[in-house]
């Protein structure tokens, strides 16, 4: 291929998606920042530069409480999902045999059916008239209060929503992992704990971190699950943002909250990505080139 042709192809294949993302992904985020420095009065935008929204966020304790609650929720959900994902993914890769593909694709069905529909399904399980309490009532036991309209209900819902994503990521990482390395360590006399802690875990750490982040970031901004299942003490940060853009019409404040959320997500992403080597995630399959 000639040099000029190569440059033309680069332009075609790399620059079109890049331009698309810059216009429709980066530019909106900049617009969000701009909006966060304006004001909303009576459902109208006032285009005057002010930092009032950020002052409100810093001084109003409610927003801080929502944020901390979301943060803890996101940490618990993501850590729990990663801990559960490892044995599942490991089992599929090691013992799945010819059912590997079926088992991994079955994870996609609950993931793809959408947040709203999955929440409807969960409500059918957990709600006051749901299956769990229905069974308990039939057995003559008292209904479980903690799974109705509480933070634990939100926790269960968020695990339900994002567990498939984490399992898939860890699975892809383990799938691209060369298990002969573990056999080699075993032949050299390492016990199973040592093989895991010195070979399997570190070499799949990048994929695990990606899985953790793909769960952590959406749960940090979860809006639908707490609104539907969280009850009176379950207001989370993302839900509060949705309210600013919805009922209360205070878009500028909502934009400021969005900017804070975005910056915090980027901070977490930055800190964790120090531990990520994209070539080892197995997610892009680029390690085998």
């Amino acid at each position: 291929m000639s040099e000029a042709e190569n440059r033309l192809n680069r332009r075609l294949f790399l620059h079109i998606p890049t331009v698309f993302l810059v216009i429709f992904f980066v530019l909106p985020l900049i617009a969000l920042v701009v909006l966060s420095f304006w004001q909303t009065e009576n459902y109208k935008i006032v285009r005057e530069w002010t930092a009032m929204n950020y002052v409100t966020l810093a001084t109003e304790p409610a927003y801080f409480i929502f944020f901390i609650r979301s943060l803890f929720m996101a940490i618990f959900v993501s850590v729990f999902s990663v801990v559960v994902s490892w044995p599942i993914a490991f089992f599929i890769v090691r013992y799945g045999g010819r059912y590997k593909l079926i088992l991994s694709l079955l994870l996609a069905v609950p993931f793809l059916s959408g947040e709203v529909l999955r929440l409807i399904a969960l409500q059918g399980m957990l709600g006051p008239t749901g299956l769990v309490n229905g069974v308990l009532l039939k057995l003559g036991a008292a209904p479980l209060r903690f799974i109705m309209y509480s933070n634990s209900a939100t926790f269960i819902a968020l695990v339900y929503l994002y567990l498939p994503m984490v399992v898939t990521t860890v699975y892809l990482s383990l799938l691209n992992f060369d298990f002969r390395l573990a056999s080699a360590a075993s032949a050299c006399g390492a016990n199973r704990f040592r093989i895991f802690s010195e070979i399997v875990w570190p070499l799949n750490l990048s994929g695990t971190i990606v899985g953790f982040l793909l769960c952590f970031i959406p749960t940090l901004s979860a809006a639908l699950a707490p609104r539907f299942l969280g009850g009176p003490n379950g207001v989370l940060y993302g839900m509060s943002i949705a309210q600013q853009f919805g009922e209360s019409g205070t878009w500028a404040l909502g934009a400021a909250m969005g900017v804070v959320l975005f910056l915090f997500s980027m901070l977490v992403l930055g800190v964790f990505s120090l531990g990520i080597d994209l070539r080892r995630t197995g997610f892009t399959g680029m390690g085998r080139q």
Partner: protein
């Protein structure tokens, strides 16, 4: 030695048990609402019965019909747009990326790490509040495409990294135009990745609420109507709608499975 072997078996069974519990956790709600939608007693539909009342009510409800049509348009356009862009990005990164391949890959995967609600409100800020544009289907399609683009890119990159680019060059050397090389050499070999990306993007944008919700204003989509109906309590119609979508998703995944399996057979041959 014997102790270690039994230990290993114990670990295997323990992991298998966790897998079974997790799959049960993921599928029990779906199966439960399928039974509930088919029952005249949706709260506790056991033993199962077969009553199609909720499906008939869903079918005759025009609100759901409009919403479903809108969602179908958004999902179709989004899946095509994001797959085309994702294909360009995949080829770009894998073939023309050079030293910056990882940088481009990280940028293309970026929307995955920005939550849907942020994508929704930031696009809304740009269109409504800065340019004062009314919400329409086009903006919703574009915003959904940004989100689905990353999924398409990763799916196709994962399936295309084994592709041997010399085949395209060979075709060109033999006198084929680049377009013909694409249609006759590349497309037959990579269509499973393209199909997978189309299906995933279609289903994701069909069912996603957050992005379309902020960009469409009053235009109803299937998830937004379902969400609105939720406020007045869960009705059996919603269970029926949910079950239909779940069955569709299941069918799409089954297609993917068959395609992937026939692909693998071809490789073995």
């Amino acid at each position: 030695m014997y102790a270690q072997a039994s230990n290993e078996r114990l670990t295997k069974w323990l992991m298998g048990a966790i897998l079974v519990v997790a799959y049960a956790f993921l599928y029990m709600p779906i199966v439960h609402i399928l039974f509930a939608s088919l029952s005249s007693r949706p709260n506790f539909p056991y033993p199962p019965e077969f009553d199609y009342g909720s499906y008939i009510r869903l079918y005759t409800n025009t609100v759901y019909q409009d919403a479903f049509l809108n969602s179908l348009i958004i999902a179709t356009c989004t899946s095509i747009l994001s797959t085309v862009l994702g294909f360009l990005a995949t080829v770009g990164v894998l073939r023309f990326g050079g030293r910056n391949a990882l940088l481009y890959a990280a940028f293309f995967a970026g929307p995955l790490f920005v939550s849907e609600i942020l994508l929704g409100i930031s696009s809304m800020s740009l269109y409504y509040l800065v340019f004062e544009l009314q919400g329409n289907m086009v903006t919703a399609i574009i915003a959904n495409s940004v989100h689905c683009f990353s999924f398409c890119f990763l799916i196709m990159a994962a399936l295309l990294y084994r592709y041997d680019w010399r085949m395209n060059e060979a075709a060109v050397v033999c006198g084929a135009s680049p377009a013909r090389a694409f249609y006759e050499v590349m497309l037959p070999l990579t269509w499973s990745g393209i199909l997978g990306s189309l299906i995933v993007a279609f289903v994701l944008s069909l069912n996603g609420l957050d992005i379309s919700f902020y960009l469409l204003g009053a235009t109803p989509t299937m998830p937004s109507v379902a969400w609105g109906a939720l406020r007045y309590g869960v009705k059996p119609e919603l269970y029926a709608l949910s079950s239909i979508i779940n069955i569709l998703v299941f069918a799409a995944i089954a297609v993917l499975y068959l395609v992937a399996r026939s692909d693998r057979k071809q490789q073995v041959e």
